[in-house]
Symmetry: C2
Subunit: 150 residues, 2 copies
Amino acid sequence: MQVEISGSEKIVKKGKSKRRSECPLNASVEMLGDRWSLLIIRDMMLRGWRTFKEFLEGYEGIATNILADRLRKLVAYGILTTDRDPSDGRRLIYSLTAKGIDLAPVLTEMVLWAAAHEPTGNQALVRQMRKDKEKFMAEVRERWAQRHAK
Amino acid sequence: MQVEISGSEKIVKKGKSKRRSECPLNASVEMLGDRWSLLIIRDMMLRGWRTFKEFLEGYEGIATNILADRLRKLVAYGILTTDRDPSDGRRLIYSLTAKGIDLAPVLTEMVLWAAAHEPTGNQALVRQMRKDKEKFMAEVRERWAQRHAK
């Protein structure tokens, strides 16, 4: 059986948004296909990072303008939202939206794939995912819901 | 509960290979974090594409040197292998390795995520995945095994 990918490489133009194709995988790749976006989402999900400063200090060698661009795009895609920090109105606090937290299965499968095929670290996280993937994702989602209930 | 990501952003240098961190997600992003690699893997998985010509004609607007670079990297990462075409010794035939076909869950989750949150096409594929994700991936793997048994 060959799967039909209907019109998948036709360029889709809709008003201002111009997408290379209407395939859902292409949509994901256009939003997330770079070297930083998924790491930003990972660190919001697992480490609870929420400020520009945390990302800038956390990623060795990321340029300020690249980080600002990635955050701006993730907000534009509806994956992150921003609020003013109540204790410092000049500072933005980033949050994962429901669309953002829904990326947990994508991140989990990417971690499991690399851990199976590459010499990687962070074995505690990998063991936790392998042992019970659904439970791991439920806990990620639970922590996210708690953060947002505050 | 906060998950500990041990030493995840330390730059890991091992001989020639230099990785930004030892986190498995970072390994995935370094291998796959661009706008084409996952689409190439998708089309080998679902459409059975195997030649440079198929990719070049299939992707509107991909530059020859970008395509050549992506294929070269995917081979270097052990995601693809190459053989000489028996009917034309100058032509290479690309195949997904076991490591490559193991990306099926990553691609599936990316498709399901985008289909849930973006206006995308190819609903037949999405329905098939939603109905029974495990069955869909088993079929992808089965077709891959059959191609390689030839």
